[in-house]
Structure formats: C-alpha cells, structure tokens
Symmetry: C2
Subunit: 327 residues, 2 copies
Amino acid sequence: MAHPVCILVDWGTTNFRAWLVAADGAVMDSRDAALGIMQVPEGGFPAALDRQVGAWRSADPGLPVLMSGMVGSRQGWAEAPYLPCPASAEGLAGALLEVPGEAGVWIVPGVSRETPDGRHDVIRGEEVQIFGALADRAAGAARSRQVFCLPGTHSKWAAVQDGRIDWFATSMTGEVYSVMAEHSILGRLMDPAGRDGAGRDGAGEDDPGPDDPGLDDGVSFGKGLALAAEPGGLLNHLFAVRAEGLFGAVPEAGLRSYLSGIVIGHEIRAMCGIARPEGPVTLIGRPDLTRLYAEAIGLFGPSTVVVTSRDATLKGLSILRKAMPID
Amino acid sequence: MAHPVCILVDWGTTNFRAWLVAADGAVMDSRDAALGIMQVPEGGFPAALDRQVGAWRSADPGLPVLMSGMVGSRQGWAEAPYLPCPASAEGLAGALLEVPGEAGVWIVPGVSRETPDGRHDVIRGEEVQIFGALADRAAGAARSRQVFCLPGTHSKWAAVQDGRIDWFATSMTGEVYSVMAEHSILGRLMDPAGRDGAGRDGAGEDDPGPDDPGLDDGVSFGKGLALAAEPGGLLNHLFAVRAEGLFGAVPEAGLRSYLSGIVIGHEIRAMCGIARPEGPVTLIGRPDLTRLYAEAIGLFGPSTVVVTSRDATLKGLSILRKAMPID
C-alpha cells in the first residue's frame, strides 16, 4: 500500500477541502466540509484542522500540511504576506509561511499587483489553481501567454507568460449580482424562488450547493449578454432589469438570469478588452458557472477550455508540495 | 390681495411639497413634508392631501390641484399612463389624468421611451423639471438641442430638441452606491459616520437632509472620478474601494467619497458618450448633488449650468397649469 507524503488543504471563505496524497500524487483519501474560515472562532484553527484531518495526522505523525486560500488572509489562521507580480510557482513555493507554533503546517501566499497608475489588486487561492491548470498543458503551450478566468463572487482574470502570473484583475461580478438582487429595487419584481446566475462563492469552492443557477431559461441570460455589448454602461443596463420587468418584456422568472447576463457580459467585455487573449481563455471554476461563462465568452470572441476548480487546486497544491522546503 | 388660482404638488417617493399659486405665478404659501407616497397607506391619499393643503382648499372651494411625481405611478394614488417620447409640455398638459372620484385633482403623466433595440425606459416627475428648466432660457436657446442631467437614486439624462424630450436614459448610480456601501464587502472598511456622496433621493427632492454628502475630502472623490476614466469597467473599479482601503492608499474616511466618484464618473462617462452634449449640460437637482456632478462633468469635458430641482418643479408645474383643461 502506498505511503502518504502530505496533506493538501484548500481552505476558503465558505468551504474546507483536504486530500491525503501519496508520493506518486495519488489521492488516498479526501475530506469536504462546509467549514469556511468565517465559521472558525478566534483561535479555533488548530482544533478545526484536527477535527477534519486529525486521524490522518495521528496515523502518520509529522506528515506535512500545505494549505491555500483565505486561511492565509488577515481573517484566517495566519497572514501569509502577498508575493508581488510577476509570480512563479517556484516563487510561491519559496515563500510558504510555516504557521507559527504549528511545525509542518504551511500556507501558500497570495499574489499582489500594482497597476501602472499605482492601484493595488490581490488574489489568494486562485494563484494555486492557475498553476495547476497550467501544468496540464504541453510545456510548449505553457510558455506562450495564457489568459485565465476564474468566475465567482469576486471574479479574477489573469495572464501567465513564461510560467509567471504577470497580470490579474478582480471584478465584483458575483457580489454586485447578489446585492442588487437582494437589496435593490431590482429584487422586487424577481421570482423569490429564483437562484443565482453569477456565482456567489469564491474560487476553489466548486460545489453547486444552494446557489445553483437553475434559472437560465435559455433566453433571458442571452438577452442580458447582448445588452452588455451595447453602449450606456452598467449603471444604465442594470435599470433595464426593472424596466423590462415592468413592461413584461422579460418574464419574472427570467429576471435573475437577465441580471446575471448583464453583469457577466460587462465583466467579460471589460476584461477581454484589457487581457486581449490571443488563444483560448482557460476557465477555472464550478461547472455551473464555467458553463455560463463559456457561453458568454464565446459571444465576445475567444474560445474557452474548462478546468474545474477542484482539479486545478489539487494539481496546483501538488506542484507546490514537491517544492516544499521539507520535501 | 392676490387670489389663488391653483395648488401645485410635487409628490415623490419620500417627500411631499405644495405651493399655493396666484394668477401671476406668485407663490402665496407653500408646504413641505416628509410624506412620500411610500408613507401613505392604501386608500389614504385623499386624507393625506387634505392634511397638507385642506385649509387652502376649504378657503377656495374648487381650486384645482395639479400633481407630478411618483403619485402617478402604480404605487401612487392613481396610475397616469406614460406618454411616449418625443413628448412636449403641450403633450403632457393634454394627457393629464383627473383622479377618479376627485374632481379637480390632476396628475401629470410620466414619459416612456423605447430604445432602438426594443428596450423600455421611464421617467416620472423629471419631465416636469426639464420643461421648467427649459422655460428659463431664451427662446432661441430652447430651440437647439439641450442635454439635461438629473442626479439621484436613479439618475436621468435627457435630451430636448424643438421643445420635445426626444431621448432619455436611467442610471442606477445612487442605488448602486448605497447598496454597495451598505450590503457589500466594500462597507466593511468604511467609516460608519460617513454620509452619502451619490444621491439617495429621487429628483424633485432637494433637501440635503440626513444623506448630505459631507465626506468629499477633496481628494478621494477626484481619485474615484479619475479611475472611472480608465479601462477595466465598473465591476473592476468597484473592487478598488476594497483594495485601496486594505492597502491604506485611500483613507477609511475617504472610501465613501472614492466609491461615489467611481459610480458618478461611470455614469457621466457612459451618458456623455451617448448624449454627446454640444453645449452646456443643464444639471437639475439638490445643491449638494449638483455641486459634485458639476465638478465631475467638467472633468469629462462639458460645461454645466445648474437649476435646483425645487425651482425647476415649480416652474414646470406652473407651465403645465396654464395649459390645464379647466383653466
């Protein structure tokens, strides 16, 4: 029987996921729990980790643990300082944070970027997925410039060249979708049974769960995408959800899909304008979201390839694991 | 002493305002109350009007009442059907709705527009203000094409040519500002004492009130406007409020102004792109909002002239009053 060499953990805002991995990369066991960092009380991270993977650690004392995601944020277990762009997998592996007081428990840093006009942007967790998805390509393809899209509450677009993340940007697509549906006048006409179109979860959390976008009626989402390609701007297009609802031009059951199409269309339009993908865009995310995004990106031109965030995370952590200082 | 000939009423979502007017247009008395249509119980409109202006009506039985604003919406006293674009003041006066069961009480219809791609947009109350502001110009100027901006929860931009409103569009600027500040992650870093920048009130309600934008620190609002002129799109620029707050590049006390500058800048950029004003843009609104918008519009090119929404409403209702069927 294979011997485990490491525990890999993806610990985000709303979910916890762990894999027990053998030297050849095979997954020997895994855990999934709705135990995001927001559910962990102050000082409760050691106990929370123990509840999930304590049995694996007892069976193999000294087994290293490698974690990525919001667990390394200021609101997480220990803050792993951001690595500035351009960032390579080797750079990340060399900047792992060993959690103070927890020998053998390591956290992958996030990546930060400063724009030419001096603004900041950050990712945490998506960097691991990007390198995971990249590793699945032929080495030649991986050398050319690749554009990635990771849809979610805060969607991330990134570009990788020569194995380094050299650009990324965040769009608040999923959050704008949900606050407008739940807290603005737009929600008044919506079917309360409706479910999300734009994603509510962060990267790395690819369970459809209760926010499964069940309401793409095949028409309203596309109408929203088409509107996003028109002039007027997002602030104007958002009002169409109310006006078209009032005039019955979009049925109540389609208003969430319409809103979803509008915000996703605006994200893609703006991000394609900056990232200017020359080849296919690699989509990393939950299958329900990547399906919507693949349809939408196709309308704006680029083709897409899809990787689930679960696969990308496992692959990315496996790559970083091999470069860990203790290996 | 002058004799009253009419009662003019501006009845919006959150405020009630009335003027007792003489034949020469002089205001003999006025009332202001925080009695928006949302505060009036079902069936309570006759009593609500009586509480505000019953004394005027008792003193002069048969005095006609002319009302504009959301009182004519589906949620108001009686629904006054929209007049389609292009709409003139004469057209509005000819389409007044006499409230069923209330002889002598009239409501100005709103205006609707169908876009070339078949979408709908609506205004209700702003049409009166536009004709009021227009009447203050030399007749020659009023014949050429004029662009109007009425900032608020749902900002309206409109164009008038040959005395007819022939285009308008709505932007959800004030509402996006407030739901993002109150219900998204952006609010977490904000100074809770901060007040609104983008306006929360509808047109025609020009009291500064509790949402007075006190926090334009002279820097953060301008930084937000400058960002809105960059590529990336609104969904990306909104995230800058979080990132710049996290990195301390915008102080906590300035984050509301920064957000306000971003959304107002996006509105102006998109609307100027469609409306293409050739002369000055006429701003109609609360003085606090029109000050911010005048600064912002100037950065995007056009000059501005400012009319308070109170003045514009009174003037516009006075014009329509003269064309009332009972006059």
